[in-house]
């Protein structure tokens, strides 16, 4: 353990030298990481608080829905928000320089019954959250009783029930309600999120300015025009949401004054008065300082979360929109670099206040208890294409090194003119081993964004939403995680004539499907009868068309039900062009409207196809029937074939081998072909992504054995990475070969993003040489048009030891995929997936 200190090795940028080394593979296991005592104190305090579930938001929303049943859905939603913000209990803890809560105490999950409620009640009764293996939450007897008391009202009124009622059997069978070929459960059970408020606009106008805008629009409406009547509902709801937000800030101001009056510690009393002044001012006015901007930024984001239940509500380009305040404060002598650094670090810790209760199935593949997805983007080019790096770019990275927590999810944008100093800083932070930050390639992301129809300026100004996704901040509603689609299942059905491998009475659909002699998918031929590999490709293409049709139909039903039942008047204030159009963001009010489902298992499809192509159609060593039987029997009795498929005697993706890489490209392109450009219910189009985040684990649990050498329940390949099965890692030629393979995919075409995970041993990236190797590797990957990378710097031995002695590794943070969290808090399937990823070295 060590205490961090500022070392003057090079000229500080912000407050730290750009080349400061914080340790290699140390992760979060460092006591007092910050040079600021307040930050270390607050960190310790927050970490010690247990996770709970809170009833208050649910009760207040229910009360408002009951009271305003006669109102339109958007007015009802606004009244619900007002009731919450006006009446929910609020608190301020010592050392909070920035205040605000998600309508619940610190680390307490509010409940959102308007989206889904059945699972909450079921789990509360039958699968208690404090008895989970991980992702535990405590719920008090009182909270449980109050939540139970809401059951009758919400029965039949939730978004989930409305979606479920509209889905046909064909649309259900591929989802979590069927056999899990694709998962749409994020927006089936919860809010959308995956967006960013327009902070620049908010900082320019303040809530008062937004109110004036709306009143202007209201005044111009023609009450005789039907569309204006609808707009009036929107504007009136938006005004209610604004009034509620102002009130929420004023309540914190009043509380801060009340606490200050009783406070004996002079320094904390002074801070409380500053909190009060700050909240009072930004309750109505544009911020005048970094601190005021930060307070408004935090509260504005928090209210989006309170309203929408969506995660991945992201922060956008923090170093860009905060920089004018930073410069002005320094010039005026209001703040120092150090005081601003401290504020940023406190703001990071404040994000630990937020948490989201997820159902017991979701947490197997999405463990961690974080709110999820609060990405913060720094670096990159500006709207004119020039390098946008500034002091704050570095200070954000330092703030992570000084806090070593899982939030925010920092993304650094690289481009061809990124300063060497920023690359050094970025990879020194990466080498700490917390999995932060992720790095993005402007040279790929900007053209990709352009291909989707965003303007050049908006494309250059992109930020990252959630785990992976490119987004035009403040003007887009991207539905970025609309579905996770398992391409490896499509291959399975293409090889097995539309029938699931392992079909049997254990399947929940058996009575309606297998027992009737039916198949889950159209008949497209069997590998046992195919005579050419082209027939495999054709069958795959037909199955892909069929399943993407089902998926899109299901997503559109979800979209329409969210529009109908859960408008978002507050979020609409912060997304262009909702106010101008007078249309809610959920109904297409945003400037850009996309829908982004992701393909999972590109490596699994590539290796499965390569094995068949090579062994069945070219070398003819095994028959198609041999492969089908082997998979049906989970490779039991087929050990020779299992060993061969998992050996380097067969072509595998990830080794710079064109044979397999071309098949990975086919898989990726084929998904994009069937998804891209389809219209959505908000007037926008579909944008395909190719990444799994951690859904490869969930989808693997739902899949039988597969021809790439996977056994039943093993994860499919993660993101755009190679296959690793329980038998072996299929990439054996090192990181450069992997980079070359993956960069043969068309990342520009995957407009909703791609993700490549890397896992290095600490030894392999230590020293200046290790750091420079890492930088060179990513330079090569990006020069070859790779889009995005994330890193683990950790050894297999450490992971094994952490599993054996979890108490010694409570602060060991790892990169799962898209997000970082505590390794010992992960589900076992996730822990093993991470363990199984290929350990790379130079």
């Amino acid at each position: 353990m060590e205490t961090a200190a500022i070392i003057d090795r090079a000229e500080p940028i912000g407050i730290e030298p750009f080349d400061k080394v914080w340790g290699i593979g140390e992760s979060g296991m460092c006591e007092n990481p910050s040079p600021f005592p307040r930050v270390n104190r607050l960190l310790k305090f927050v970490k010690g608080v247990e996770f709970t579930v809170d009833h208050e938001r649910a009760c207040l929303v229910t009360e408002a829905y009951k009271q305003h049943q006669d109102k339109s859905p958007i007015r009802r939603a606004a009244e619900a928000l007002r009731n919450v913000l006006a009446n929910v209990t609020i608190r301020i803890h010592r050392d909070e320089l920035i205040v605000g809560e998600m309508a619940a105490p610190m680390k307490s999950a509010p409940i959102f019954p308007e989206f889904s409620f059945g699972w909450v009640l079921d789990e509360m009764e039958h699968h208690p959250w404090d008895k989970r293996l991980h992702d535990k939450y405590h719920v008090s007897v009182e909270s449980a009783r109050k939540l139970k008391g809401l059951e009758d009202f919400w029965k039949g009124r939730t978004v989930e029930e409305a979606i479920s009622a509209r889905l046909s059997e064909d649309e259900k069978k591929g989802t979590h309600l069927g056999v899990g070929i694709y998962l749409i459960n994020l927006y089936f059970f919860g809010g959308i999120g995956h967006t960013q408020g327009n902070y620049e606009k908010l900082f320019t106008k303040g809530y008062g300015g937004l109110r004036a805008d709306i009143q202007t629009h209201l005044a111009t409406l023609d009450p005789a025009l039907p569309e204006d009547v609808e707009k009036r509902e929107f504007y009136q709801a938006a005004l209610i949401a604004l009034e509620a937000s102002t009130l929420y800030l004023q309540r914190y101001a009043a509380l801060a004054r009340e606490l200050a009056a009783r406070e004996s510690d002079a320094e904390w009393r002074r801070e409380l008065f500053r909190v009060a002044e700050c909240c009072d001012w930004v309750a109505e006015n544009p911020p005048r300082s970094f601190r005021e901007a930060l307070q408004l930024w935090f509260m504005a984001t928090t209210i989006i979360l309170i309203e929408s239940n969506g995660h991945s509500v992201s922060f956008g380009r923090f170093d860009q929109y905060m920089h004018p305040f930073y410069q002005a404060d320094l010039a005026a002598g209001r703040e120092t670099k150090e005081s601003i650094q401290e504020l940023i670090e406190v703001a990071f810790i404040k994000e630990l206040w937020w948490t989201k209760l997820r159902d017991r199935h979701t947490v197997i593949a999405n463990s961690g208890r974080g709110m999820g997805g609060n990405s913060m983007t720094v670096g990159g080019v500006d709207r004119e294409g020039n390098d946008a790096t500034n002091d704050l770019t570095y200070m954000v990275l330092d703030a992570h090194a000084h806090t070593r927590i899982t939030v925010p999810w920092i993304a650094v944008r690289f481009h061809k003119n990124t300063p060497w100093e920023l690359k050094v800083k970025t990879f020194n932070v990466v080498r700490i081993g917390t999995g932060q930050p992720k790095v993005f390639n402007d040279e790929c992301a900007v053209p990709s964004s352009l291909s989707l129809g965003r303007t050049l300026e908006d494309s250059r100004n992109y930020h990252i939403v959630g785990c992976v996704e490119i987004d035009a901040g403040g003007m887009e509603y991207g539905w970025h995680d609309a579905a996770y689609f398992n391409m490896a299942r499509v291959l399975e059905l293409a090889l097995n004539d539309g029938r699931c491998m392992g079909c049997g009475a254990h399947c929940l659909r058996w009575d309606r499907c297998g027992a009737q002699g039916l198949r889950i998918a159209p008949r497209t031929g069997s590998l046992a009868e195919f005579t050419t590999f082209d027939q495999v490709r054709e069958a795959y293409d037909r199955q892909m068309k069929y399943w993407t049709d089902q998926m899109v139909a299901g997503i559109e039903i979800m979209d329409q039900e969210h529009q109908r039942l859960k408008p978002l008047p507050y979020l609409s204030l912060l997304i262009d062009d909702c106010i101008g159009r007078g249309v809610d963001v959920s109904a297409g009010g945003a400037h850009y409207n996309f829908t982004g489902p992701q393909a999972v298992g590109v490596g699994s499809v590539a290796d499965g196809m390569a094995a068949i192509k090579q062994l069945v159609f070219e070398e003819k060593k095994f028959s198609g029937r041999d492969f089908l039987d082997a998979c049906e029997e989970n490779w039991h009795g087929h050990e020779k074939l299992y060993a061969l498929v998992n050996s380097s005697k067969v072509h595998h993706f990830g080794n710079d081998d064109d044979y397999a890489d071309e098949l990975a490209r086919f898989a990726s392109d084929n998904f994009c072909k069937h998804v891209e450009g389809r219209p959505n219910s908000r007037g926008g189009i579909y944008a395909p992504g190719v990444y799994s985040v951690s859904a490869n684990v969930a989808l693997g649990l739902l899949q039988w054995a597969s021809v790439d050498g996977r056994k039943v329940m093993e994860p499919v390949s993660d993101c755009v990475g190679p296959v690793h099965t329980n038998a072996s890692s299929h990439d054996v030629k090192g990181p450069t070969a992997m980079a070359k393979s993956v960069s043969k995919l068309d990342h520009v075409r995957a407009t909703n993003g791609t993700l490549l995970n890397w896992k290095f041993t600490p030894e392999s990236v230590s020293g200046d040489r290790g750091r420079d190797n890492l930088i060179s590797l990513i330079d090569v990957y990006f020069e070859r048009n790779g889009m995005h990378s994330q890193f683990n710097i950790i050894s297999r031995e450490t992971l094994l030891d952490a599993m054996a002695h979890p108490d010694n590794y409570k602060d060991l943070i790892v990169r799962v995929a898209g997000y970082s969290t505590y390794y010992v808090d992960l589900s076992k399937p996730l822990q093993y997936d991470l363990l199984g990823r290929t350990e790379l070295s130079f």
């Binding site: 008895k131 293996l133 197997i364 392992g502 009475a505 254990h506 929940l508 039991h636 039943v712 329940m713």
Partner: protein, 121 residues
């Protein structure tokens, strides 16, 4: 001892539900399966026999089984089998504290039978 008792109770429950629950009876009516549950550490366990709607069991593990659920040790078996958390079994399989010998499909069938026995949809 606790492990064997747990298996005995499971066998009793299966027999009972086979007589009383039409849904369960329908599920097992045409099934022929011998499945063992045993602990590797002690070698003890029980064999469950499904024969066209009839359920029986024996502590004699000599019979040829199409599938065996092999637990590392009795304590793990007891804690997972008694858990209300479905994830416990997934975790045990992942950690290889539970291994499936023979047909995985028969293991899945047996798991589904247990779900129906518990009244799950």
């Amino acid at each position: 001892m606790k492990f064997q008792l747990l298996l005995y109770i499971l066998a009793w429950k299966l027999k009972r539900v086979a007589k009383k629950d039409p849904r369960f009876r329908h599920f097992i009516e045409s099934k022929k399966l011998a499945l063992a549950i045993r602990a590797e550490s002690s070698g003890k366990g029980r064999c469950f026999l499904f024969d066209n709607g009839r359920v029986s069991s024996t502590a004699n593990l000599g019979a040829a089984c199409a599938c065996a659920m092999v637990w590392n040790d009795e304590a793990t078996a007891c804690s997972v089998m008694a858990s209300s958390d479905d994830e416990a079994a997934v975790a045990a399989l992942t950690e290889k504290k539970l291994k499936i010998e023979g047909s995985f499909k028969e293991f899945k069938w047996f798991s589904r039978a247990l779900e129906i026995m518990q009244g799950k949809p």
